[in-house]
Amino acid sequence: MSGDALRPARNIKFKDALSEGLCMAMERDPGIFVTGISVDYPSGIFGSTVEALRRFGPARVFDAPAMENALTGIAIGAAVMGMRPVVVHPRNDFMFLAFDQLINVAAKWRYMYGGRAGSVPIVVRGIIGRGWGQGPTHSQSLQSVLAHFPGLAVVMPASPEDAKGLTMAALRASHPVIILEHRSLFELTGPVPEEYYATPFGHAKVVRPGVDLTLVATSYMVQEALVAAGVLAKEGIEVEIIDPRSIRPLDEETILASVRKTGRLIVADTSWECCGFSSEIAALAAEKAFDALRGPVRRLSSPNCPAPVAASLESVLYPKASTIVGLSLHMLGRHPQGNLRGIDAVDTFKGPY
């Protein structure tokens, strides 16, 4: 549980929770500023930076040219001088351009000067695109490659509450934090405490308790997992859904405890499989909860191709609730009843964005 809510939580949208977390943090820390392409637009990163601009003005929320690598270095240099920059990428795919600064500098700064050059408390937000033809370079999901590197924290809020709490935690961390926010979650509504609270890194959340099967799901896959768990519950199968929230540092214990309880594991992740987060969790279980496993672990991730644009292909691209249900039933030796596809959410998104 993140934060001790004094007042009752209201239901607000994910994007508004991001915004609220940012604003509350900015209020407390005058060193925080927000930059990146389009952060000061009326549409402000799908609504998440609009309020910050309104309240703190263009001196603290300002646009940037297209210069991902240098901008990241600039954020580092400002952070080293005591500021807390937030760099936003409207698509996390643009971050490849900044990998040198992120990985060779930010991730290693504290360590490579033996702690004597301070640390680099930058926050980098990257939005993960999905659907409506986002295509090969606007819908990747970079948590696995970023989490490979010691020194970087990588978090993925999957609920409005965590959108706010992880943002606030990132904005008081003493190290670089990458927040990957899934575009498909921005309109999601959920309870969010009004207070300032920080969702600690390295603490997974048991999103739904269960005993039959552990389902570790990241980011948007938590939504698919919840739908799947609801359907499975009607079949008498109680799935335990765990949202790691932070990919690095990873809360191994919560995941292992669940696996030890259920003996079965599915990992549903938004990135690719090979050397991906789904493999990480599968390996974790095979290494540290082996004796509890009652059958093979299973990974669900992005299929082994770039993301195509055509709707016909996009519709079969992503694992969905129905995929999870089918696989869960299979793992438990049961057979799916009828066509599962009907349970999947219909994408009502209107383009172009």
């Binding site: 389009s38 040219p65 351009l97 033809g133 370079t137 055509a310 709707a311």
Partner: protein
């Protein structure tokens, strides 16, 4: 902007041919933008309405064997190169018949048969790629050119400077065409360039030949391109052409700013640029020079409109990629 030189030297026939190409780009783009509103084309599309003269003027200066690269706003360059309207529409509709078989969408077009190699969605990428194609030509002693079209925001990315430096060192036959439409998404030049910036000056400091033209003046773009292309073919090293122009629609999508409630540009500014419509200007010039009359141009336009209509209809009706092909062509 430079004073415009007299242009009687462009033959009437060529003027008409360019105008026909311009009309084709305009009519197809406009029709696609209209259809885009139906939400059946599920691919973020950056329309180039208002900027057509840049693509047509440059491409007209090319020869068979030359290659063209483009960026996210690729339709104009694809169409000006002679890319099929049917295949473009099919691509936007996500059809197997699309130029990229529905895989790439609006930003990832290809039409190799007509020399349009590819466009990509991330800023600056194709600037280097075009440079590499020119390297191949140069290594093989081929007298072919590579053209890279990009927006002025790509000049904020380091890859632009890495590329032009390389091209200049090796005297590669690349024409870098910067379409300066004053905005990157909704950001004006002032947040992206120091006051007084001349991109041509930057290019010259890398030892490129550089010119700046009115990008809405088809003949001016053509003439500058032809001049620079000549130098390129003579092995004089890379060149940079900045074309001042303006996009009529919102950054991505089919609406005018005012329709979408966007406020980063004033309606007056947009309308003043629409007055400087490259198609109208080209038509007026052609009529003034007596190359063709209004009726002939109307007939030309009608013919193209019919072709476009036929193409988009067929594209809409075409088949989507089979789901079983999800994994085809990964490598």
């Amino acid at each position: 902007m430079k004073a415009e030189p007299a242009r009687t030297e462009i033959p009437g026939e060529l003027r008409l041919e360019m105008h026909a190409r311009l009309l084709r780009v305009r009519i197809a783009s406009r029709r696609l933008a209209e259809l885009y509103r139906e939400q059946e084309m599920r691919t973020p599309a950056h329309f180039g309405l208002g900027q057509e003269a840049v693509a047509v003027g440059v491409v007209t200066a090319l020869r068979p064997g030359d290659v063209v690269y483009s960026h996210h706003r690729a339709h104009n360059h694809y169409l000006a190169s002679g890319g099929s309207v049917y295949e473009l529409a099919a691509e936007l509709y996500g059809r197997e018949a699309g130029c990229s078989r529905g895989r790439g969408g609006s930003a990832h077009l290809t039409a190799q048969a007509v020399g349009f190699i590819a466009s990509t969605a991330i800023l600056g990428e194709t600037i280097a790629i075009a440079t590499g194609s020119a390297l191949a030509f140069s290594m093989r002693g081929e007298r072919r050119l590579a053209v890279s079209f990009f927006g002025e925001a790509a000049c904020e990315e380091g890859i632009f400077y890495e590329s032009i430096n390389y091209a200049a060192i090796r005297r590669l036959p690349v024409l870098y065409v910067c379409e300066n439409n004053l905005y990157s998404t909704e950001s004006p030049l002032s947040v992206r360039q120091p006051a007084g910036t001349e991109l041509c000056e930057r290019a010259r400091s890398f030892k490129l030949k550089a010119e700046r033209v009115d990008g809405n003046d088809l003949a001016a773009v053509y003439e500058a391109s032809a001049r620079l292309a000549d130098g390129l073919r003579r092995g004089e090293g890379p060149a940079f052409l900045e074309c001042m122009t303006y996009r009529w629609l919102e950054h991505v999508g089919p609406h005018f700013d005012h329709e979408a409630g966007r406020t980063y540009r004033s309606r007056e500014e947009v309308e003043s640029w629409m007055q400087r419509c490259p198609v109208k200007r080209s038509a007026a010039e052609i009529i003034r020079l007596g190359v063709a009359d209004e009726a002939a141009l109307a007939a030309l336009s009608n013919g193209i409109t019919r072709d476009v209509e036929d193409a988009v209809k067929r594209a809409r009706a075409a088949d989507p990629p089979p789901q079983g092909d999800l994994y085809a062509d990964v490598w």
